[in-house]
Amino acid sequence: MSRVPLDPRTAPSFQTAAKVLLGDAQLRKNVRHATDVIQNKRRRLVEEKHDWQQMRESGRQIRAHALQHLDIYLAEFERNFTAAGGHIHWARDAAEAQRIVIDLVKQTGTSEVIKIKSMTTEEIQLNNALEAAGVHAFETDLAELIIQLGEDQPSHIVVPALHKNRSQVREIFRKKMNLPNLGETPQDLAEAARQFLREKFLRVPVAISGANFLIAETGGVCIVESEGNGRMCLTLPETLISVVGIEKVLPSWQDLEPLIQLLPRSATGERMNPYNSLWTGVHPGDGPTNMHIVLLDNGRTDVLADHEGRQTLQCIRCGACQNACPVYRQTGGHAYGSVYAGPIGAILTPQLMHMEHSQSLPYASSLCGACYEVCPVKINIPEVLIHLRNKVVEQNGWYAPESLAMKAVAQAFLSEKRFRAAQRLGRIAESPLVKKRKQNKLQVLGQEEAQTPGWIGWLPGLLGGWTDTRDLQAMPKETFRDWWEKRNEKGSNRT
């Protein structure tokens, strides 16, 4: 049941993938419906919190502070989690994390594990690695189960199967759960999942999760969820292995005050998630006795090193930016070629890939700023997008078209003479392309015939990208400067 995971290293460019996906009317309808519903709920619940902006600001400061002192808080977390009976493992990259998890699972002697929805384990393509090692992972979140059984890929951070509607889900469950008479209501489908998974919760001895927050002060872990599958995985098995990005650490318990409010209102438009689980290490007689956390770098320290890009790591994975993004709402998540789609994915993925892959993603945005406005920890996504576009151009070298064009413009702007020469040259160069339209007006006797400014409907080569979808207005015959100087020479209306 292995599927081809979303991999930024092999994915086509956003623009190429988007063109194909835009043709899928059902997908666009499903995505639009889901994002509309969440956005409306979110808006109502954000408006009722009069201290929302204060919470956002605190959330931003807490996350930025934790990153600024990441070494201190990771060491503190490690100390406290270990003292509480847990085991910490460090993974430099995805392959190392996969190896650690596989070894831990093998030590238990099981060939099956249950999983809580985790974007971090999707990022490191853990399920395929486990499968290759002879271990089958059962996804237990309803959406992840739909994705897994449908051999599909997640398209949203919070609601990974939002691109599927109920009849598509029914078809998958009918086939894969062998339920020919399965009904179509969401209740029927949820009940089928409950039946399918209950036996696994009671039997499988190892669970794998991510985490929403780590708390340095207590060595604590926090996982929020809706269905109770998380609680099943966190409390019933003997062994719990959590794969967590190093950026997820918070200094103290009190930092949850704003974050545990910001997250559910932003993510699902709920006042609180149905379930928040918090625990510190092993608690005799309550939950797993064998507890492991794999702390994952996998490019995160690279992001940390980039002063402008660092704020990307503040993200608490609420998905509000995806729901608000006019680009995501048209293309859905798969076009981004990464488990992190939408605006946050457009800045996170290329940075995690050391800017070697996903170079088209920083351009998958109109820079409208809706993502920044809804971000519960105030990540200035448009600012980072522009910063990354700059990096892409720099990386592609001086001979890249954008780079050459910008250098030429910079040269022209350096002296007035060159600027005027460039304007003259531009007027001459464009003249064969300009189409003039006569105004539909009677000519006033004694005056020149009135004409609208000319328009250019076609430009050659790379510039054609602009005129493919719109016309370009021709340069005016006389620039403002020319007009101003002439006017001064005449000496009229001088003050």
Binding site: N30, D51, Q54, E57, S58, Q61, H65, Q68, H69, L70, I72, Y73, L74, A75, E76, A84, H89, W90, A91, R92, D141, L142, V159, A161, N165, V169, P186, A190, R194, R198, T218, G220, S226, E227, G228, R231, M232, T235, L236, P251, S252, Q254, L256, E257, P258, Q261, M272, N273, P274, Y275, S277, L278, W279, G285, D286, G287, L295, D297, L304, A305
Partner: protein, 216 residues
């Protein structure tokens, strides 16, 4: 050979310069926390708000005085046709009426799956969000007992109700090391067409008895 841990710490130090616990401590104190941290309502409206929120989640809420808790439990269990109830250690005998009450004896998950109902108390409740907080403590038990049975009857005192999440987090500070579960209504999902469906894996039915031992 340097370990993965060493390499990651070196990378972090290179990325932003190494920090010290003292520097972190001083900077931490400057974080602004200007959000609401005190209640804005009086006690009576706070309790009403909790009741409203719980009912929005389809929980049934009953308000009784201490001496009537046992009778209320009996009535609810009879109405729900429940004869056998799992309970943690530490509940008052007088509450346990109208069914066979079996104390959790650390049975396996499979054993817990035989129970359809569980009765517990709680650490506190948050009115604003309709949240009830459970911890591993007498009267509440380990986490699995409030998870596997399909029905949860939860008894809490109105003095345990706070208005905001922030107040709750501050009250929980001394017991922050305990396994803690916040639950807000029955388990739910909106994964299919964003339609909220009650009850996926956790309890599908939740009733709450509020014991009024303050003057409202």
């Amino acid at each position: 050979m340097s370990t993965a841990r060493d390499v990651i710490f070196q990378r972090i130090a290179k990325a932003k310069g190494a920090s010290t616990p003292e520097a972190a401590h001083i900077a931490y104190a400057t974080i602004e926390r200007n959000y609401q941290s005190a209640p804005s309502l009086d006690r009576a409206p706070i309790i009403h708000l909790l009741e409203d929120r719980l009912r929005e989640y389809d929980a049934h809420v009953y308000r009784v005085t201490e001496s009537n808790v046992g009778e209320q439990v009996k009535q609810i269990l009879a109405a729900r046709n429940i004869q056998r109830v799992l309970v943690p250690d530490g509940l008052p005998e007088s509450w346990l009426q109208g069914a066979i009450f079996e104390i959790d004896n650390q049975q396996s998950a499979l054993g817990l799956n035989d129970y359809t109902a569980v009765l517990t108390t709680a650490t506190l409740a948050i009115a604003e969000t309709g949240t009830i907080v459970l911890q591993n403590a007498p009267g509440q038990g380990r986490r699995a007992i409030t998870l596997i049975p399909d029905y949860h009857l939860c008894i809490l005192r109105t003095t345990q109700v706070v208005e905001t999440v922030v107040e709750a987090m501050r009250l929980l500070e001394p017991t922050k090391h305990l396994p803690t579960t916040f639950f807000s209504g029955p388990s739910a999902t909106a994964d299919i067409e964003m339609t909220r469906i009650k009850g996926v894996h956790g309890p599908r039915f939740v009733d709450v008895i509020l014991v009024t031992d303050e003057i409202l």
